[in-house]
């Protein structure tokens, strides 16, 4: 101890001399008041305890990573030798995120993918109508049916999508992803009813509903009910799934949505942790023991900027912060409860890409891949460079993306070392700094009463909007530089054009006619179903919705099974819970 102090004193003396004799001279020569760079020393991480702050990969506090090596790393060499192409749909995973038109359109698309060997489980994008809890015949639906995802009005639609999933692709063999939040309970109920009708034990169902409603109020915007009853629905899902679908992930929380909406890294991390704490508490309030359900919480992705050092530190800080919260606040003991499990880790965020000189986005995405590789994950180069050019990536952009990831793995060998920055004076200091700033945001929200209160009083959504505006002002004042956007835009710069073929995944004719076909199906359903039973089940749902202690999942399953529509179910809940009113800017 005394030895260590002596050493630090010596370093401090040396640093002071360096500043006086070297740094100041340099500043004077260039007539600067402040150095444009920084140099870190052991003085910046005084009291650093390796085991406390970093630890070993796969051990608490998981700063150095969730595992000694990821599963893909074990197969990396054989993947190279067998020309493995990650075209979404490897054994046991989900296929590429997608969906359009009616259930029939999406089903036929999936059949085409299967014929190409892309046999992953359905990874469903829903249209905005479904995401906002309306049916295709709602006035709100006009022009939006089947556009950004598939339209689901009833269980029949849902079951149609699964027609090609039988035999080797039966739902006890392939997992499913549902990017759905406000009506997550309805979609999960459809999955349950499908399994029951097929005689598949619920305990065998795997998959991930996004089911992260709190971030919808802060970013993304597909909420329906106010936050408090939304959290009650979360509790009902959490308790129901823990009891009946133990292999299903309960939620896939999104930090990156919040960052894309404009949050700073500290806000992103602090807000995401506050949301996570609210979900975890909801499970506990539902009577569950923490280690029974926390292992089924996942994160969608964390990250979202070009600042590579910051994004590496961010991943380290996030893992440590979540592990500590679970251990200290929620007394979790199961290692799987303590880990941030996420399919996408560090990346640049789609909002880092630019429409101007778009091939530069490949360079940008590589930076994100390096950050991921250096912070304990697959160095995924994401997104494809043509992301800002409109919905749909070209084959060329996807090829460059896949190859860039391979080059980082096999040629640059970025992932040969776990947490390569561990112990760096700079990186440890930055990790501490991000964690402390995120903790300050987290505590601010806790002092307001938690995530629900900080949505109700408008704090979180407003803070994100303000940060987005601050960043825009910095760009316009040239305090932040974006190459090809607000600097280096002179007459001698050229835009590099690349031949680009957008893969015709979705039939535009089907997209155009989806609304009419969907409405016709819905009318037919309402004509032919047993509506008396439907209305009686909806009445029971309403009655139970008024009782805060009731779990609504069994009622929602009954409604779904008897062909109540998604909007009918949501309308009953709208009647009881009310609708969220956005806070003014």
């Amino acid at each position: 101890m005394a030895e260590q102090k002596k050493s630090l004193d010596r370093i401090k003396k040396a640093r002071d001399l360096w500043e006086e004799n070297v740094l100041k001279k340099r500043l004077k020569r260039f007539n600067l008041a402040e150095s444009p760079t920084r140099f870190y020393t052991p003085l910046d991480i005084r009291g650093f305890e390796f085991l406390d702050k970093v630890g070993f990969p796969g051990q608490y506090p998981y700063t150095a990573g969730n595992n000694p090596f990821d599963f893909w790393r074990a197969y990396a060499d054989s993947a190279a030798k067998t020309d493995y192409r990650p075209d979404w749909g490897g054994a046991g995973g989900v296929g590429k995120y997608g969906g359009f038109g009616t259930a029939e359109d999406y089903r036929d698309y999936l059949i085409r993918m299967h014929a190409m060997g892309r046999k992953g489980g359905p990874n469903m994008a829903f249209d905005l109508v479904t995401q906002c809890g309306y049916d295709s015949d709602s006035p709100y639906a006009e022009g939006e049916v089947g556009r950004v995802g598939v339209a689901i009005d009833s269980f029949k639609d849902f079951a149609t999508i699964y027609e090609p999933y039988t035999g080797d692709l039966e739902i006890d063999r392939v997992p499913s992803n549902f990017t759905i939040n406000a009506p997550a309970a309805v979609i999960i109920a459809m999955y349950v009813v499908l399994a029951q009708k097929r005689g598949i034990p619920l305990a065998k169902l795997r998959g991930t509903p996004q089911n992260d409603i709190l971030k919808e109020f802060i970013a993304r915007g597909t909420y329906i009910f106010p936050p408090k009853p939304s959290l009650r629905l979360f509790r009902d899902i959490c308790v129901f799934c823990t009891g009946n679908l133990p292999e299903l992930n309960i939620t896939s929380m999104g930090g990156y949505h919040i960052r894309e909406a404009g949050a700073t890294p500290a806000q992103d991390l602090g807000f995401s942790m506050a949301n996570a704490a609210a979900y975890l508490q909801a499970g506990i309030d539902g009577g569950l023991e923490i280690d029974r359900f926390a292992p089924k919480f996942t994160f969608n992705a964390f990250g979202g900027s070009m600042e590579i050092y910051q994004e590496i530190a961010f991943q380290r800080a996030a893992r440590r912060m979540y592990a500590r919260m679970l251990k200290e606040r929620f007394s979790a003991k199961n290692p799987r409860s303590l880990m941030i499990r996420q399919p996408i880790t560090a990346h640049i965020g789609c909002s880092s890409t630019t429409l101007q000189r778009p091939l530069n986005n490949l360079t940008r995405a590589v930076v994100g891949g390096v950050a991921a590789g250096m912070s304990g994950a697959l160095p995924g180069v994401f997104p494809p460079f043509d992301e800002p050019l409109g919905l749909g990536h070209s084959q060329e952009a996807v090829q460059l993306q896949i190859d860039a990831t391979r080059i980082l793995i096999y040629e640059a060998r970025v992932t040969d070392v776990n947490d390569p920055w561990a112990g760096s004076y700079f990186m440890e200091s930055l990790t501490d700094e991000i964690e402390a700033a995120a903790m300050a945001e987290f505590e601010k929200i806790e002092s307001m009463g938690g995530a629900v209160a900080a949505i109700e009083n408008g704090y979180m959504p407003k803070a994100v909007a303000k940060s987005a505006y601050e960043r825009q002002k910095q760009i316009e004042r040239q305090e932040k530089f974006l190459v090809g956007v607000n600097c280096f835009t002179g007459a001698n710069e050229i835009t590099v054009e690349v031949n680009r073929v957008v893969e015709a995944t979705y039939d535009p004719e089907r997209m155009r006619t989806a609304e009419a076909r969907q409405k016709a199906k819905l009318a037919e359903l309402k004509r032919t179903r047993d509506s008396r039973t439907v209305f009686s089940l909806l009445a029971t749902l309403e009655q139970h919705a008024r009782d805060e202690s009731a779990n609504l999942m069994p009622d929602i399953c009954d409604c779904v099974e008897n062909d109540a529509t998604l909007q009918e179910i949501c309308d009953v809940l709208r009647g009881v819970f009310g609708e969220f009113q956005q806070t003014r800017l």
């Binding site: 006009e142 022009g143 556009r147 993304r220 429409l355 800002p388 002002k473 760009i475 974006l482």
Partner: protein, 138 residues
């Protein structure tokens, strides 16, 4: 069209698209640039946008759309304004708008289309000059 001093702008999010960052940043930026800005918030129907524009006596309606539904949603707003005899209101559009659609929007009568990377100051300049031209003409 408002004949008073400050230019009044309605920033609107038609349809169910929840991507709000652009609309909010533009609303803040135009406010700081000296305009009177009303922001509708999410999930507005074309009818709601038209009636708010008329009630608030705005000079400009800015539509922010990132869902790909920009052609049909903009068409509805343009038709609605015309039906109400309010087609002297300048309509501008921002969002993820593929190149070929920009001309289609202008053919509907949209004054200008602003894609990502546009500084708010450029939008402010455009509005100031376009509105003064219109007022002088009227």
């Amino acid at each position: 069209m408002n004949q008073g001093g400050k230019i009044r702008v309605l920033v609107a999010k038609p349809g169910l698209d929840g991507h709000e960052r652009g609309a909010q940043v533009v609303a803040y930026g135009l406010r700081d640039a000296g305009f009177e800005v009303i922001y509708t918030g999410l999930r507005q129907t074309a009818e709601q946008i038209v009636s708010t524009a008329i009630q608030e006596d705005v000079d400009v309606v800015g539509l922010s759309i990132l869902s790909g539904a920009h052609l049909s949603l903009t068409r509805k707003v343009m038709d609605g304004l015309k039906a109400q005899g309010a087609d002297d209101i300048l309509v501008i559009v921002g969002g993820i708008i593929p190149d070929p659609d920009i001309q289609k929007l202008k053919d509907m009568g949209v004054g200008e289309v602003f894609v990502s990377g546009t500084p708010v100051s450029a939008i402010a300049q455009y509005i100031a000059s376009a509105v003064s031209t219109r007022k002088n003409a009227g």
